[in-house]
């Protein structure tokens, strides 16, 4: 690259969340630690530098030992992982090599540690076995912990960033993204991640522009580079020239006008031109998101993902802690309903204190309800908290990842156990809450009619349903473009689910990301779906779409869809048919 004056570079990725922002790049490493500085250490200072490193290791180890002590004894497997980490702190290849590197290269401890852990990473990348290859994460975690203590008080975590910057990261974990403070960060870009990855879902709810799956953004971008993030078209421009900057400043203004226009009408009901009222609810993950849900005009919470509380602690939350959070949401939304989905972990969300590392294929593994049925004490704790929160407002209980009738029968048994325990403990609770299941596994679609006779409602989870039906990993950028909501197979499955539910007289909601994209709305409404739950930021756009639509026409058009065999035919039909009312999209072409 040209060293005298930075040249404008355009990088293409995947649109994470729409919008435009212009600002300075701020590179963060894994765990949100600042990028590491390198400086020489004089020979006389080497012993002091070595001591500094040893101190950091001791502190990190003590901290880690405390985390182990805080764990319950019955978390055996978990304990194993943490104890493995204990030994790793003093491992020759990490600890010994870093000390050697400080002395030999006469460089600061941070850089020496970075150099050594990079070498270890390279070593592990050459291993054929996928399980062993993934063990590099244990080493990275340990070295990140040491780094944390080395960098000391100036260490910056995502939650502490206090400049208005654009974050550039290799990847952001759900825990990282949930720490982003909206008012502090203009937008973010990552090397990894696809359109429907967890990172993008959170980004959308935060309403900050993001571009994901850039591949090498952290390599091509330097701290303080000027960046334009165009989240709508999925591109970023590094060190833009004046003309480009000018063009984007105008575009930013137009985008903000458009957004303001949409949001103005967000409090009007979602009613079609021919008078059919639809029900738009919000998906939330953090308790704090209820405010934005209500501001965006949601009629309730259609999906409250409950993993966050588990991800953010070093141990399992207690029943009272859970109750307190659920109660906050329920009371805030009352009398509107809040649908609480029980724990869905070990798919793309891994709880650090549970050992799940040995699964080669976690999305087909012991996740969600399967995990809960195997770990009934954890499940019962959550169910009890939900039942108790139901005394304070309108709650629906939603079980994720049901793939057979047996599972829902077993869930009911556990639920009865939880009720019995609460009765024996004389707690105030409400057991008369609707019980529903997520329809997100193809087998549940096939068995929808049978499942419907055991529950009060269905909620179609399109993110996983599409992933499992089309065999597409939505976070794999090489196949992410094949993840298509309007695929005819997906549409058929949605239809089957709805028909089974209505035949048995139960309600259906759609709570996947599919419901938040206006282009899908005419199809879904045409199928007869009237309950949708989406990221709250999408509600105003979807509402505007609905208010311009005609229900009868949508039904008629949906009938025509069964004549199409490809996603392309369906997409272009919708685009043509609804081109007047589909939302604004600005691209270069």
């Amino acid at each position: 690259m040209n060293k005298t004056g930075p040249a404008q570079v355009i990088l293409r990725g995947i649109s994470g969340s729409p919008g435009i922002c212009i600002g300075k790049a701020y590179l963060v490493d894994r765990e949100g630690v600042n990028l590491i500085k390198r400086y020489p250490v004089s020979e006389a200072m080497v012993p002091a530098e070595i001591d500094r490193f040893k101190n950091a290791v001791t502190k990190a180890k003590n901290d880690h030992a405390k985390a182990i002590e805080a764990l319950d004894d019955d978390l055996g497997e978990n304990l194993n992982i943490l104890e493995t980490h204990m030994v790793l702190f003093k491992d020759k290849m990490l600890y010994g090599k870093t000390l050697e590197t400080i002395a030999q290269d006469r460089i600061n401890a941070e850089w020496a540690l970075r150099k050594v852990s990079r070498q270890v990473k390279i070593m592990f990348e050459q291993i054929d076995d996928n399980y062993l290859k993934a063990r590099v994460n244990d080493i990275v975690q340990v070295s990140d912990k040491i780094m944390y203590y080395l960098v000391g008080a100036q260490d910056i975590q995502i939650k502490d960033i206090n400049k208005r910057v654009i974050i550039v990261a290799h990847d952001l974990s759900p825990a990282d993204t949930s720490q982003i403070k909206l008012e502090k960060i203009k937008g973010f870009v990552t090397d990894r991640g696809g359109k429907n990855s967890h990172t993008s879902i959170v980004a959308k709810s935060l309403k900050i522009p993001s571009v994901l799956g850039l591949g090498r953004a952290t390599v091509s971008i330097n701290n303080d580079d000027i960046l334009i993030v165009d989240g709508s078209s999925g591109i970023i421009i590094v060190n833009p020239d004046e003309d480009t900057l000018f063009k984007y400043e105008e575009r930013l203004e137009r985008f903000e006008e458009y957004r303001a226009d949409i949001e103005r009408d967000s409090h009007l009901p979602a009613i079609t031109r021919d008078g059919i009222t639809l029900n738009l609810m919000a998906n939330i993950e953090l308790v704090e998101e209820v405010v934005s849900a209500r501001d965006n005009g949601a009629n309730g919470i259609g999906l409250f993902r409950t993993e966050f509380l588990y991800l953010n602690l070093k141990r399992f939350p207690t029943e009272d802690e859970l109750l307190q959070k659920y109660k906050e949401v329920v009371e805030f939304m009352n009398p509107e309903p809040v649908t609480i989905r029980t724990l869905d972990i070990n798919g793309d969300k891994v709880i650090p204190y549970i050992d799940s590392v040995e699964e080669v294929n976690p999305s087909l593994g012991l996740r969600a309800v399967r995990f809960c049925l195997e770990n009934q004490d954890i499940f019962i704790t959550q169910l009890k908290a939900i039942l108790r929160a139901a005394a304070f407002g309108n709650i629906k209980l939603l079980i994720p990842m049901i793939s057979s009738v047996e599972e829902i029968i077993r869930v009911k048994e556990v639920l009865n156990k939880a009720i019995l325990e609460l009765e024996n403990q004389d707690k105030i609770f409400n057991k008369d809450i609707p019980l529903g299941i997520m329809i997100e596994v193809p087998s549940a679609v096939i068995m929808a009619e049978e499942l419907a006779s055991h529950v009060d409602f269905f909620s179609i989870g399109t993110n996983d349903l599409i992933q499992y039906s089309l065999a597409i990993d939505r976070s794999n950028r090489r196949v992410a473009h094949l993840y298509q909501a309007l695929n005819p197979a997906v549409l058929k499955m949605i239809r089957m689910t709805c028909e089974a539910a209505w035949k048995k007289g139960i309600k259906v909601t759609m709570c996947g990301e599919m419901a938040g994209d206006p282009i899908n709305i005419p199809v879904l409404v045409g199928f007869g779906l009237t309950n949708f739950s989406m990221n709250s930021a999408s509600i105003p756009v979807v509402k505007k779409m609905i208010r311009n639509m005609d229900f009868k026409l949508a039904k008629k058009n949906a009938e025509k869809l069964s004549g199409f065999q490809t996603t392309e035919e369906i997409t272009s039909f919708i685009q043509e048919e609804y081109k007047e009312i589909l939302p604004y999209k600005e691209t270069d072409e």
Partner: protein, 96 residues
């Protein structure tokens, strides 16, 4: 006595997962108590048994033949303990 004259025992990785982080940590702990060096070898490469990281790079999947070597006779007890650990499938056999 030259260093090439090592004491060694042969064993085999028999558990389903092969060598992974937990047993590697246990072995490293045992090896750190030795007076001299303890090495593991899979025929083509040789690693320091007191480093988890090094052990993992052996890539000892199920069925890998491993030779455990120590340089001092005093460390024979440790060598036998490590072999016994391998022979019991790192205590994971009853889970299969």
């Amino acid at each position: 006595m030259n260093k090439n004259n090592l004491f060694s025992l042969q064993t085999i990785t028999i558990n389903e997962l092969g060598m992974h982080a937990r047993p590697a940590a246990k072995i490293a702990e045992m090896a750190m108590e030795a007076k001299g060096e303890v090495q593991l070898s899979n025929g083509s490469s040789k690693v320091d048994a007191s480093s988890i990281i090094d052990i993992l790079t052996l890539c000892a999947v199920k069925g890998t033949r491993i030779s455990i070597q120590v340089e001092f006779i005093e460390d024979q007890g440790i060598m036998e303990k490590i072999k016994a650990f391998f022979d019991t499938g790192f205590g994971e056999l009853n889970n299969e």
